[in-house]
């Protein structure tokens, strides 16, 4: 006992030395270290060698690791330990403590299988490939979402829920294919109309559930129904996705016999028949005869709904008679589970979203209508407010009870709405929405229209970018921007509030010093930039052109009269290679730029601006920072049409570290500003020192995906974004966030003032 205590004592001394300067709880340390009792000294050394790697990441993880070390080393050799710890930390960082602990608990499955080349595959690894696939199948966004551990696969018709990891097959490739099969199969249920019913208010009302509950053996009937629907789905997939089904046949033998008990089921042959959609006939067996008949019907008319439920209903008594106590068929993995409650819930959510979308789109549309705006203005004048723009109280009060309503031109197409006795024609997008609502509810509720009119009257739509608000560059109020949530593959509407804040000019000798420091470079750059300057000009003496060059012609005629060979270069051509470029520089002003990073960025801006003086390119500079979604700030340093004056120089001098890096709203705002700029090339140069990040949960994948989406939106609006980062780890995420070839990582920050003008030059020539 004495020796054991002293051994723990010496271990704990070593441990404290390793985790210095932290001072963890003594009893916690002792308890963990007791677990190392059974290990020899080399093993203990190996375990301790990893502590400095794990401790700073998570202390709880470190304790769990030491506690589990003995078990781990019974599977792994000491040499394999560092590699395993690396995977463990990855696991922790991407999925948290729980997942890392699970990983630790099963060394065999989670690590050694992979070492042997066998591999399960994680949902997060496949989404980049299969998410677009799922959406393309469905024809609209169809998110692939992770299931809680142990839950069974299902779809609620708005999304497909999948296990976080699949390891049924030994190879990654087959597991990937299984994911694809599951997704296609779940989509198949939606496509085949398994869940289709008239509008439902409560899941309990679902006719299928009522049918099952009335059965003598609900579970069996349910499982038979599920199976018959799967037959329909498979037969549909066979015609819709023949390539997939051909490949899937290789997986089916394993999938159709998951366990020994399931292959003993009297109806196991049904599921095995799914492989080729062929079943063995047995004329002596009444159940078999009936099943064969029904299956044939399903295969003949896979599009027809309703066959499955009647077949299931009919078969339950037959099966019960022949195989008393027959358990329900357990569904195969790709069949998942049919969850009517979730479907009804999703339908409800969709209805709400549609209503919200319809109301805001209609409000935006109303805002554009001249007659509506005129009315609004009138109302505003009556309730004049000094700060006009926001005008919360200038709501147009209308009597909706009489005015609002829907007018159908014919029974199906919704083309007009009636508001205040005015017929308002709907644009295509709204019309589609209105039709979807009409199909769902049988009418468009009057309150949808009245709240849209209310919103439009309140001027809420004015806050939306891209609306008809003509605030232009000089807008000082707040703007709302959407934020992309990659988890739901949709926007969080009006999520970020962005305001422009003017930086006070600062009188320092920063500008003078920079001039001094980079004098030679500025002179060289100016010269280089001057050479890029070209404009519209006439090219004389051309072989072909728009007009005749009279001078050249006279010469040529004189030559030919004099008996010399006449030149053919007698035309004038207008060369239009003028630079028509507008560029915004968006500068990261997060507090990570504190110190010399920020200083070098500022110097780079000064050098660039001086060089740009030699060109006629229009450019603007904005800084951004902020904290949380409701306080995104943009600092105009030079607006697009503002000349480069001392004020601008002083504002560059005033750039300093502020708060966080929520990049996307700033990008969206720049895209919005670009809408008012006419230029052949519209370039957005983003200058940053790290990943997008904010104080709240805006970080990691979420932030990168939002930024990536904002950049995609910019590109869609005809703006070329380009990112320059000084983050050494930039390679890891920049390609995904900005797109290949759309970014550059600069290792040596010192060279920034030199590199930025060069990058600019190569981007615009």
């Amino acid at each position: 006992m004495q020796t054991a205590d002293s051994a723990v004592q010496s271990l704990s001394t070593r441990f404290y030395a390793l985790v210095n300067p932290s001072l963890p709880n003594e009893w916690e340390v002792d308890e963990a270290l007791c677990a190392l009792d059974s290990l020899d000294s080399t093993q203990i050394d190996a375990v301790f060698a990893q502590v400095p790697a794990i401790w700073p990441v998570s202390q709880s993880l470190c304790f769990s690791y030491i506690t589990a070390a003995a078990d781990i080393l019974s599977c792994l050799s000491s040499e394999e330990l560092p590699g395993w710890v690396q995977v463990l930390l990855d696991q922790y960082e991407s999925n948290g403590l729980r997942s890392a602990q699970r990983f630790m608990a099963d060394v065999e499955e989670h690590f050694l299988c992979r070492m042997r080349g066998e591999k399960g595959i994680r949902l997060s690894e496949i989404t980049s490939r299969l998410q677009p696939y799922a959406s393309a199948l469905a024809g609209h966004e169809m998110p692939l979402l992770p299931l809680p551990e142990g839950g069974s696969i299902y779809t609620d018709t708005s999304a497909i829920y999948l296990p976080e990891e699949l390891g049924i097959f030994a190879t990654e490739q087959k597991n990937f294919l299984l994911y694809k099969l599951i997704i296609s199969c779940q989509w198949g249920f939606i496509r085949a109309g398994t869940f289709a019913t008239a509008s439902l208010d409560k899941a309990e009302d679902h006719p299928m559930l009522a049918l099952f509950n009335n059965s003598s053996n609900p579970a069996l009937q349910r499982s038979l129904y599920h199976f018959f629907e799967t037959v329909r789905v498979f037969s549909l997939l066979e015609s819709e996705l023949p390539g997939l089904m051909r490949e899937a046949r290789l997986l089916m033998p394993t999938l159709a016999n998951p366990t020994a008990t399931s292959s003993n089921h009297p109806l196991a042959w049904l599921q095995q028949g799914l492989i080729h959609l062929e079943w063995q006939a047995d004329t002596d067996n009444a159940v078999n005869r009936m099943l064969m008949l029904r299956l044939q019907q399903l295969l003949d008319e896979p599009e027809k709904t309703g066959l499955s439920s009647s077949a299931a209903e009919e078969l339950v008594p037959l099966v019960e008679r022949r195989y008393p106590g027959c358990p329900p068929l357990s569904p195969l993995i790709m069949q998942g589970e049919l969850r009517w409650h979730e479907v009804a819930k999703a339908q409800h959510v969709r209805r709400e979203q549609r209503a919200e979308l319809f109301i805001s789109a209609l409000a935006a549309h109303l805002m554009q209508l001249p007659e509506f705006r005129a009315q609004k203005k009138e109302n505003e004048q009556q309730h004049f407010q000094p700060d006009g723009m926001q005008g919360q109280d200038s709501a147009v009060v209308r009597d909706q009870s009489k005015g609002a309503g829907l007018r159908d031109r014919d029974a199906e197409a919704v083309t007009f709405i009636r508001l205040d006795n005015q017929d308002i024609a709907l644009p295509e997008e709204l019309r589609q929405l209105a039709e979807a609502i009409h199909q769902d509810l049988g009418e468009i509720p009057a309150q949808y229209i009245s709240s849209a009119a209310g919103q439009a009257g309140d001027g809420v739509a004015v806050l939306l970018p891209g609306g008809q608000a003509d605030e232009g560059e000089a807008f000082h109020g707040q703007l709302c921007y959407d934020e992309w949530d990659f988890r739901r593959k949709g926007f969080r509407r009006n999520w970020c509030l962005l305001s422009e804040t003017t930086l006070p000019p600062v009188q320092t000798n920063f500008i003078a010093n920079t001039f001094e420091k980079y004098r030679g470079q500025i002179r060289k750059l100016r010269h280089q930039f001057e050479l890029m300057q070209t404009s519209e000009r006439f090219l004389r003496r051309q072989r072909e052109g728009n007009d005749i060059d009279v001078d050249a012609l006279v010469e040529s005629l004189a030559d030919s009269l004099a008996g010399r060979s006449a030149s053919e270069r007698v035309y004038v051509r207008l060369a239009r290679d003028e630079r028509d470029i507008a560029v915004y520089f968006l500068v990261d002003m997060s507090n990570s730029t504190e110190g010399w990073v920020g200083k070098v960025i500022k110097e780079a801006l000064v050098v660039l601006c001086e060089a740009l003086q030699a060109l006629n390119d229009r450019y603007g500079i904005y800084g951004f920072s902020g904290m949380r979604r409701l306080r995104c700030e943009l600092f105009p340093i030079k607006r697009m049409h503002e000349p480069y004056t001392d004020d601008v120089r002083q504002r560059i001098g005033a750039i300093g570290p502020k708060e966080y890096t929520r990049m996307a709203p700033a990008i969206r705002h720049m895209t919005h500003l670009f809408k008012g700029v006419e230029a052949k090339i519209r370039l957005l140069v983003l200058l940053t020192d790290g990943k997008p990040e904010d104080y709240d949960d805006y970080k990691g994948e979420y932030a990168i995906e939002d930024t990536r989406h904002a950049l995609l939106e910019a590109r869609a609006a005809g703006v070329h974004p380009f990112c320059i980062t000084v983050d050494r780890k930039g390679q890891e995420y920049m390609a995904h966030m900005c797109g290949e070839n759309q970014y550059i990582c600069i290792d040596s920050i010192k060279r920034l003032p030199d590199r930025i003008p060069q990058i600019y030059r190569s981007l615009t020539t």
Binding site: S128, R129, L130, Q131, P132, Y133, S135, A136, L137, A138, G139, H140, E141, K180, S184, E240, L241, P242, G243, L244, E247, N546, D547, I548, L553, S556, L557, S560, A566, E568, V570, L574, R576, K675, E678, A679, K680, L712, A716, A717, G718, H736, G739, E740
Partner: protein, 270 residues
Amino acid sequence: MNKHSIRLDEHRIDEEPFYLPIGEEITIAETAHRRGLPLLLKGPTGCGKTRFMQYLAWKLKLPLVTVSCHDDLSTSDLVGRYLIRSGEAVWNDGPLTMAVRAGAICYLDEIVEARKDTTVVIHPLADDRRELPIEKRGELLTAPASFMLAVSYNPGYQSVLKDLKTSTRQRFVALAFSYPQAELEAKIVRRESGMDSTMANSLVKLGNMTRALKDSGLAEGASTRLLIQAGKLIAEGINPRTACQVAVCEALTDDPELLAALFEMVSSQF
């Protein structure tokens, strides 16, 4: 005049081009022609706008003069210019003038690509005056009844710069084109590429899947033209998956993630 008719004969379409009408577009275009109205065809790339014009020209038995617009296209490229021939300045008609003189169809493809000041020359031609002033010659041409002006553009380019001036667009009868319904499209793909109908159906399904990706980073889904090209490769014996990869996926995007996703769609079809 004789010279013009020789050059214009090259633009005549003698064989009936294959065109499957989607709606009433042929009747509308014929009526517009009869009443001297210009046509504006809009729709995504490769959906059959140019083929429709060829068919119309064949049906009306008129030469079709096509000009592909680009941002360096000048007014004289359309109207004409003086050239020096053996010491003399000789006037040379541009394609637009040529079509007006002969009463042909002039089709300005991708009109938004041309500079806005260039497109203004078509204004007097596109309203009830139906005149083409040739400033350099001091000539005012009046279009004969058979002349028709047609322009096309792709509204999918979401750029403020690539939009028609209101004063230009409000002179036209506008026909909107989109990708045909799956059955029709399969028929078109089969007919144009010479492949069998199951393959054509799969190709069209693939096309529709890519079109659903329009908001997920793909600028535009696969056009009918692209599907036909893939079909031609398949009909010549290239493995369908390879054919789709080279003719559809790689043609649509450079993004590695999207390419992987597109290839998953291909492998689920073939």
